[in-house]
């Protein structure tokens, strides 16, 4: 009998396995329970009762809430579309949206009661955004049906005021064929272009080449550049937008002279160009409030001289993410170190407890203070001498650089503008990219101007 008793210890193995499995499961639950519960197929949420928290803009305008009919969005269609990619759709398909990322908070999920609200109407927390619904509406309308991305944020507090991506769809009345369409007309509607897309930067990249030149060439401002309309590098002709003749550096930037910047890139060399591009945030991503940006890319290693020249003027394989470009502008405005953007102002539970409040956070240093100051002067000179202060609301003292990026494949170029207001009363850093937008200033510039005007009023 004694041996039988000893041999029965084999059952302990099973009990240990049971305990281990149980602990594994409970650990998974503690870690992932929230994401399990807030699945899009969960009828406790999709039937409306449990995605109960509201989403508000910075002025406490309710842009999404739930009633007995389900999820309800703002009355104005343009507001709904303008905020789509930040607020999100009811099913949570827009991964970087608040209604996906903050589903646990909005549904009131917690580890103890799950989605159940045992002692009251609702558990869901309210999420207040830093965004301005009206500015987003303006940006969406200014895009005029074109695809693109618009981002404006306060470079001293980090608050994103306007973040619009197109194309989108109306979350209040999703089209019937949204899931079934096979013609591709809804391609990219779930993608937030501001965060998750990259575009060829075109001339906006000259800001990077300029920064590299400032740091590497001590007598840059006393140099003279000559443009005859084109130049031949390594047997490849680089065309300019015009014949700019003789000019100094800031005029070359204001003229967006391809010849001057192509030659500068070659003179600086691949190593210096890459080092500075990476210092400015290329080839890496930025994370804030639970989202991560797509990586801007600068890859000139192994490029021939003519390719290097093209890379210095924002063509070749260069790619830029709109959010990153705005962060770069924030760095220039802040003397070299950016303030990181954020879009959640606060999360408040149904009984009024603020469980999360956004605070300004600095990013990594990108530029020395002197380089930032000189770039700021040049970008201001761009607006006063090339684009005209008149295109922006008065008093903002905008510093900017536009770009018209050739994308090939028979498509119209992508129009770009990146910049910031040097007037600290209106501390806005911005970036806009408009696909098939012809000229940068005409498309993206107009959008940025419209949004800044909306923010000014």
């Amino acid at each position: 009998m004694k041996t039988t008793g000893t041999r029965s210890l084999i059952l302990i193995l099973l009990t240990v396995a049971f305990a281990a499995g149980m602990l594994l499961f409970l650990a998974d639950y503690a870690r992932d329970g929230g994401s399990w519960a807030i699945q899009a197929f969960n009828k406790h949420i999709t039937l409306g009762q449990n995605l109960s928290g509201r989403v508000l803009d910075r002025n406490d305008t309710v842009v999404a809430y739930s009633d007995e009919t389900g999820r309800v969005y703002h009355d104005d269609r343009s507001v709904r579309l303008g905020l789509l990619h930040v607020v999100g759709d009811t099913r949570g398909y827009i991964a970087t949206s608040v209604q996906n990322l903050y589903r646990a908070e909005l549904s009131g999920y917690n580890l103890v009661t799950g989605l159940v609200s045992p002692f009251g109407e609702t558990n869901g927390s309210d999420v207040k955004l830093t965004l301005d619904a009206n500015a987003c509406k303006t940006a969406y309308e200014a895009l005029g049906g074109k695809k693109g991305a618009v981002i404006v944020y306060n470079y001293t507090t980090g608050e994103i005021l306007c973040e619009v991506s197109a194309p989108g769809f109306d979350p209040g009345a999703p089209p019937d064929d949204l899931d079934t369409d096979e013609t591709g007309k809804y391609e990219g509607v779930y993608l937030n272009n501001v965060l998750s897309s990259t575009y060829t930067p075109g001339s906006t990249f000259k800001v990077v080449t300029a920064a590299a030149a400032i740091e590497a060439i001590p007598d840059l401002d006393s140099r003279t550049f000559t443009c005859t309309g084109s130049t031949v590098i390594n047997g490849n002709q680089i065309n300019c937008t015009g014949v700019h003749g003789q000019m100094d550096f800031k005029t070359a930037l204001a003229n967006s002279c391809n010849v001057a910047f192509g030659e500068l890139a070659v003179e600086l060399g691949e190593e210096k160009m890459t080092a500075l591009a990476e210092q400015l945030g290329f080839n890496k991503s930025f994370s804030f409030d639970g989202v991560t940006t797509a990586k801007s890319s600068y890859r000139a290693a192994g490029a021939s001289e003519d390719e290097l020249a093209w890379s210095g003027i924002g063509q070749y394989t260069d790619l830029a993410n709109p959010m990153h470009m705005a962060i770069l502008m924030s760095a220039v405005a802040n003397g070299g170190t950016p303030v990181m953007p954020r879009f959640v102002d606060s999360v408040t539970t149904s009984f009024g407890l603020v469980t999360q409040a956004g605070t300004p956070a600095q990013g990594e240093k990108m530029l020395s203070a002197t380089t930032a100051a000189r770039l700021k002067t040049y970008l201001r000179y761009n607006v006063t001498n090339a684009y005209g202060d008149g295109m922006f609301p008065s008093g903002m003292q905008v510093c900017a650089k536009t770009g018209t990026a050739e994308v090939g494949e028979g498509k119209e170029p992508t129009g770009w503008i990146i910049g910031f207001c040097s007037n600290t009363e209106t501390p806005y850093a911005f970036a806009a990219a408009v696909e098939e937008g012809s000229s940068g200033i005409g498309s993206a510039g107009a959008v940025a101007s419209a949004v800044l005007s909306a923010l000014a009023s």
Partner: protein, 582 residues
Amino acid sequence: MPDFQPVSESVLYVLRIVIPLLSIVVLVRAFHSIKAGRRREEPVIVLQNTVTKETVPVLYWENSIGRSRSCDIVLSDMTASRDHAVLMRRESGWYVTDTGSKAGTRVNGRMTRQPASVKPGDIMTLGSTSLMLQRTSEAKLPQQKRRVLHAASPFGLLLTVSVIQFLLLLESCFGGGEFSFLPVVPFLALQVMEWGLYLFSMKKLNRVSFELETIAFLLAGTGVMLLSGMRGKLAEGQEAPGMWAVADSTMSTVYMQLFTMLLGIVLFVFLIWFMGDLDRVTKFRPWVAGGALLLFAVNLVFATALHGASNWISIGPVTVQPSEFVKVAYVFAGAATLDRLQTRRNLTGFLLLTGACLLSLFLMKDFGTACIFFVTFLFISFMRSGSIRTIVLAVAAAVFGAFLILQFRPYVLSRFQGWRHVWEYVNESQGYQQTRVLSYGASGGLFGMGIGNGMLGGGRSGTSVFAANSDLVFGMLWEELGLVMAVVVVSALALLVFCARSDATRSRSTFYSIAACAAAGLLLFQACLNVFGVVDVLPLTGVTLPFVSAGGSSMVSVWGMLAFLKAGDERTYAARRQKKRR
């Protein structure tokens, strides 16, 4: 009518916190009571060496005697065999059986091979050692200090279970948004069965313990009340039962569950009686094994393929899963008394039975049950032989077998595809059920949405996820009664393993202890497959959660398993309740 909804929801929520807490109390007290009620390890008789006058205590019902250190009574005698004989206690007294020793065993000088009765004063001679059987009172032994442990009152425990079930009844009646009296009849039926069995075993049979049955009723009652919450699921053209309806055809699953539970209890009572006589057990073991094989053969011939596996047979309107009954027969045929373990060391017969069972299950494509049989085989064969080599060989064979299955039945592999990756198969068969369980379960949190409010079961009007109340019942438990209750229910099955183990040396025979350990192991392993399958810790196999899942054959079978556990507790047969003095 005043709006009582928010108030009642809060009250029901509080009840759902109370239910698992009370259940924990029941389980802890029941387990404590099983431990406390056990006989102390004190010798009943002693053996005195006639030459050295040394006394050896006899601690167990079956004692191996021999030269081997692992024997219960060790002989330091070179002429004795390693496993010389077995000294057994039966209802009619003590017996000694020679287990193939070289020198033989004599009782009062007479050579014996068959079990021979030994009375106090008789002298057994094994090899050149002679031992005299003495009552403990005659031997001078140091008195052990008595530890008094208070066992919980069986009445109090069962009453607590009834209270828990009443709370579950409230949950069930108010659940699903509309009040209904439909769960009252199942509740009353449960009470009749519980208290009926209680009175039968305590008053009629004068048993002293009821803990195992209490645990089983706690689990089964939770299952029945949970199923009652799915009431009123209407087929097309069916009329909804009114508020005052007490019985309805939409409750047929619940009625079936209760009926099979009654059958299970009958089997439970029968098996305990049947196993009371070890001679009868020995006589019938081959027949039971043969019957099991016959049942599988019938299954294979008349199989109805249902959801991939053809492990069902239809008899008229009833579908039966024979493999569930074979489980009981298998454990029965696998266990053996100590003298048989020592005389027949090899496992050939049992191996053949196992092989036949596994082959049948493979032909039926019921791989989940095959796993359960295999693990039970490991427990039984190890407890019988103690041979690690057998275990290693068996596992190697199983790995090879699994490899063959994957070669010839590649669809099995698709289940493994989803394993630990269910979120990549949210709407495909590899992950659909698991992701629903995890999502709806997590929605319920620690204390649940309330009976009848779950989406896994479909609520009152929605469609339920396939097999919600059987394979996925852990998910329903979790979503509707909360994670705490779900874990408590499964842990109760783990507790049974501890009960079986702690009784292993106190059973009246190794037959009982092996059967009890095998049954407890089987139940817990099946629970592991069920629970870990749906929460994606293991691949989903589609087996039932013992006592809780809807399923008639399974319900009958688990009560059979409980009978083995009950028989493993020596008090079931030995101890009697003392009649109160008038």
